[in-house]
Amino acid sequence: MHLREIELKCKELDSIKARLELKNAELQRLGIEAKKKKEDDQILKIMAKIRGEEYKGEYELKELEEVKEEIEASQDSSAKLEKEILEGLKKLTLDVPQGVPQIDSENKATLVFEGDPCNKAVQFIASILNSDIPMKLDNVLLHPDRAVVKNVQKPIEVANALQVFLDNISRLGRVALKENDPDVEEAVKYLHESRYRDIWEAIGGKRTVSNQDLYSQLNLQTQKERKKIRNFFTNLEIALKNRFPFIRLQKGAYELNFFGTLVWKRYKDEYLKKEELMEEEKAPLEEPAKKDREEKPKKASLNNFLDNNKIRETIYGRKVK
């Protein structure tokens, strides 16, 4: 789906959400009115009884029910539209200019999109990652009106980077739809079954990592032990080829790329959380409905290792508000 189509759908989604907000406010107001009506109704009923008359109640919730139905309908359309947008991300295309991309003196290529900026669409994609705008995926920056590819020297590198970017957006769509991406799955399986599992877990989704960090984190003292770290990166690159989850920054220093972030997230969900559940197998079962409710609103950043509130609460204590 074209970024421009996604922009239109996002605008529609925004107006549904705005309508929903209004309807929710109305529901709240009607709820208060209904409560008051119900109280009055009970008093009138007693008064009628005192007078020896029959009371025909006027209390009804028709309007309230109507608003509730409208809210439900809006929620359904919003969910449907969101799903359509995410489906669209799986086959996203960009309005980049035709021809061979130009690289400037700062080793970057700027590809301005045709037409108006797609503010809402870029905002939507960025929100999945809790990212600011421009949204950065590896060496590609996505602005509402342009894509910028950094650290490139040849036009083919620009084309390849954009292709990887679109592949990653497609994976992002799949992750958000809770679908599995075959590349991510393969990498996750390989890492869990490999003899380097402890190294991968020690890296734990950190953005940058160096051999030195890992030596100290895993207490590797001898040359023989340390060789395992170097072998991990070398063998991983050989095994996963163009799905290598890191970018080599310099000798012995790596950065987890976007694909790597997705792999780590999936790895955590697939293995670490499962192990945690197994560990707590005797814990009382939560009622499924409640569990579902709690799982849905999760929209945290993909690398939210430490939550700011938790940090503050731990370091400064609970009494500092």
């Binding site: 100290s216 814990a283 503050r312 400064y316 009494k319 500092v320």
Partner: protein, 296 residues
């Protein structure tokens, strides 16, 4: 980022803590002084009593009547007053110690996370201005924790004017280590003040897995061990033991109850010691049952 109001709250909390620390230190030095005095007066008493006994015998022989031991009586009265004073100091110190431990359970470590300075793999976080802990506070915390200086939890050292985190290449990693260390700090304060709610939550989680408990018990009993040796003692599959040890060092266990040593063996951390002691205290059957049986 903290607001000015939050920084003020932190500084106020630290100030209250430091005021109690000063009182505690004063009381401690007064108590030491009184104890010294008691010792001094006691040795004086034995000397005086001996002299007066001799004099008493001499008087009895010479004049047929004994002389009163007046000086010894005086010293005895003095000692008894000093002992009473010492007991009062002790009682006050017990109260103050309880107050201090209670404050330590929530004591803000006033580290300014925004202004951390990194040098090689060491990150130093200064304290907020006016919220420095000071030497006396560190000394008292060490005394209450019955810990030798420095006030360190794994790679994190809490100093009078800053905290220093070693072996962290990134700021976020340093903060993560700091959080882990402060959780150990608070766990220790909880344990010393016998406030077991949070500890018991972890104990409860730990005892859901028999192998976790067994691993901690065997490490508590035998010190450092490799996964293979533990598996031998526990009579279970070494891979299973390794996986369990490994799980206990993950971020979902914070503070981690065990850690891997430089030699590749596993050992209890401070948190692990506290937890296994509490497990044994709460579950007496765990004490009685044999490790091998439990894990099977």
């Amino acid at each position: 980022m903290l607001t000015e109001n939050q920084k003020k709250q932190i500084a106020d909390f630290v100030k209250t803590f430091k005021e109690k620390v000063v009182k505690y230190s004063q009381l401690k030095s007064e108590l030491d002084e009184t104890e010294k005095n008691i010792q001094h007066r006691k040795s004086e008493l034995s000397e005086v009593a001996r002299e007066e006994r001799q004099m008493e015998s001499a008087m009895e022989v010479l004049y047929g009547q004994a002389k009163e031991r007046s000086k010894a009586r005086e010293i005895e009265v003095e000692i008894s007053a000093l002992e009473e004073m010492s007991q009062t100091h002790r009682d006050e110190m017990v109260h103050l110690k309880t107050d201090l431990l209670e404050l330590m359970r929530n004591l803000p470590i006033p580290a300014d996370l925004e202004n951390g300075k990194q040098h090689n793999s060491e990150t130093s976080f200064p304290y907020f201005e006016g919220a420095e802990l000071g030497d006396e506070a560190i000394e008292v915390i060490l005394t209450l924790f019955r810990q030798e200086p420095p006030l360190a939890f794994s790679d994190v050292t809490i100093l009078s004017d800053r905290v220093v985190v070693k072996n962290a290449s990134e700021r976020l990693e340093a903060i993560q280590k700091l959080v882990e260390a402060i959780r150990s700090f608070r766990m220790r304060a909880d344990n010393m003040s016998k406030s077991y709610e949070k500890i018991d939550e972890l104990v409860e989680r730990l005892t859901r897995s028999k192998l976790y408990t067994s691993v901690l018990r065997v490490l508590a009993e035998r010190g450092k061990l490799s996964a293979h040796d533990m598996a031998h003692v526990l009579n279970v599959d070494p891979r299973k033991v390794y996986d369990n040890c490994y799980n206990l060092t993950r971020n979902n266990w914070s503070p981690n109850p065990i850690k891997k040593t430089h030699s590749g063996e596993w050992e209890l951390t401070l948190a692990g010691e506290i937890l296994i002691n509490r497990v044994l205290e709460k579950h007496t059957d765990a004490k009685a049952g044999s490790i091998g049986e439990e894990s099977r």
